[in-house]
Symmetry: C2
Subunit: 209 residues, 2 copies
Amino acid sequence: MERLFYQISENEKEKLFRFLETNILTFPKNTIMLSNTKDKIIGIILKGYVQIIRTDYQGNRTIIEELEEGDIFGTILSSLDSDECEAITKENTKVLIIDYNSILSYQNTKYKYYNQFIKNLLEITTSKIEEKNERIEILTKKTIRDKLLEYFNIYAKKHGSKIIYLPFSYTNLADYIAVDRSAMSRELSYLKEEGFIETKGRKITLLYK
Amino acid sequence: MERLFYQISENEKEKLFRFLETNILTFPKNTIMLSNTKDKIIGIILKGYVQIIRTDYQGNRTIIEELEEGDIFGTILSSLDSDECEAITKENTKVLIIDYNSILSYQNTKYKYYNQFIKNLLEITTSKIEEKNERIEILTKKTIRDKLLEYFNIYAKKHGSKIIYLPFSYTNLADYIAVDRSAMSRELSYLKEEGFIETKGRKITLLYK
DNA sequence: TCCAAAAAGTTGCAATTGCAACAAAATATT
DNA sequence: AATATTTTGTTGCAATTGCAACTTTTTGGA
C-alpha cells in the first residue's frame, strides 16, 4: 500500500481513484474472493487477511501466498490467474480493486500523480521479479543442504549479518524451498552436528566462512 | 525491442533517447560485458548474442539466460546484479543501455511517448513475473515426472494443443526444470512406455486426458 | 493455567535421483 | 563427404529424499 502510493498524499490518492477504474469490495471471513470480471486487476488489501491456495490436478492444496493489510496482489503480480487458484479470506477483508486496463489506457497525462503511480507500480513489479529470481536460485539447487545454504546466503547478504531470523515457521520454510519438512529438519540437524550452523528457535547463526 | 517501443515510431524513439540517459555500446565476440556503473540499467540487444552465466560458490557454471537481438535485460529484469554473474558476448554485440534512474526521475511528462514507454516497460515486467511464476510452479513439484507433466501442461494450455515443440534441447529442458539430464531422459522413457506421451525428436505428443 | 492445536524433531524404509561412464544418434564444421 | 562436437539414450549404483508414524515442544486460546 505504502509503496504503491509512495509520494502520493491521501488527497491525491482519492483523485487518482476517480481517474482510474476502482472499486472497494468487502468480503466476510472464509469467503472465496472471486473476480467478477475476466479483466486484469490490481488488488490492494485495505483490511484483513487472505490466503491464496492452489489445488493441483492431484488434489494437493498448497498455500502459495498470504496477503495482509497493505499487500498488493492481482492478475499481473501473482499467479492468481490460473484456474487452480482460490483466494480465501481468513478475516473480514476489505479490498481495493483497480482495473489494470484503465491504468494503461489512461491518456490524460496532465495529472501529475498518475505518473508517480505508474512509477511506483514499476518499482513494485521489478522488486517482485527480484524476489522470484531469488526463489528460483534456491529451487534449482539439487540437494536440501544446498537449498538451505542458498537461502541462508541470500538472507545474510541482504541483511549484512550472519544471524538469521526466519520470517516464518520451519514448516513454511520447507514449503518455500519445496522439500519435505522432516527431511529438511534432518538436514538442519546434520548442519548443526557438523558445526555449520547453530539454531535457537527461529534464530539461525551461520558459523562458516 | 518491439515490445519496449510498441506504438512508438522510429522518430519518437530517437527523441525518447535524447530525454532519457542512453548509451550505445559495442562489444567484440567473447568479451565480458561489464556495466561500468553501479546504477540500475535496462539493456537492449540491438545486434548480437549474449549468454548470462552464473558461477556459484562451488564453481559450477550454468547458463541462466541467453539473449538475442531484441531481447531486454538489466539489473531490474534478470539476476545480472548478483556478483556471481557474467554476461559474455558470443558474437559481435551492440547494446543500448538506458539508465533506470533517468526513467524514473524524468519529470517532464508533457512528452506523450514517455508514458507509452513506461507502459510498455510495465507490460514487459509483468509478463516476466508470469514467466517466473510458471517456472516456480514447475520447480516446486517433487518428482521429475511431475515437473515434466507440469511443464507439458503449461505449454499445452498456452498453445491450446497436445503437441509440444520444445523450444530448446532436452539438455536445456533438464536445466530449466533443474534435474539431472540422464535421470530426466529415463523418466521420459518411462512416460513413453506407460503410454502417456510419444516423442519424435523435439516433438512431444501428449496422449493423456 | 490448562488444554488443544500447530510446529518441530526423529527415524526406518522404500522410492527417486544424481552421478558416472558409456554408446548411439544427430548437428556442425572443415 | 569425412570428422569433430554436441546431444541424446541407457544403466548400475550409491546418495538423497519423501513418506509415514510417532514423540516432544511450542504456541495460542478459552
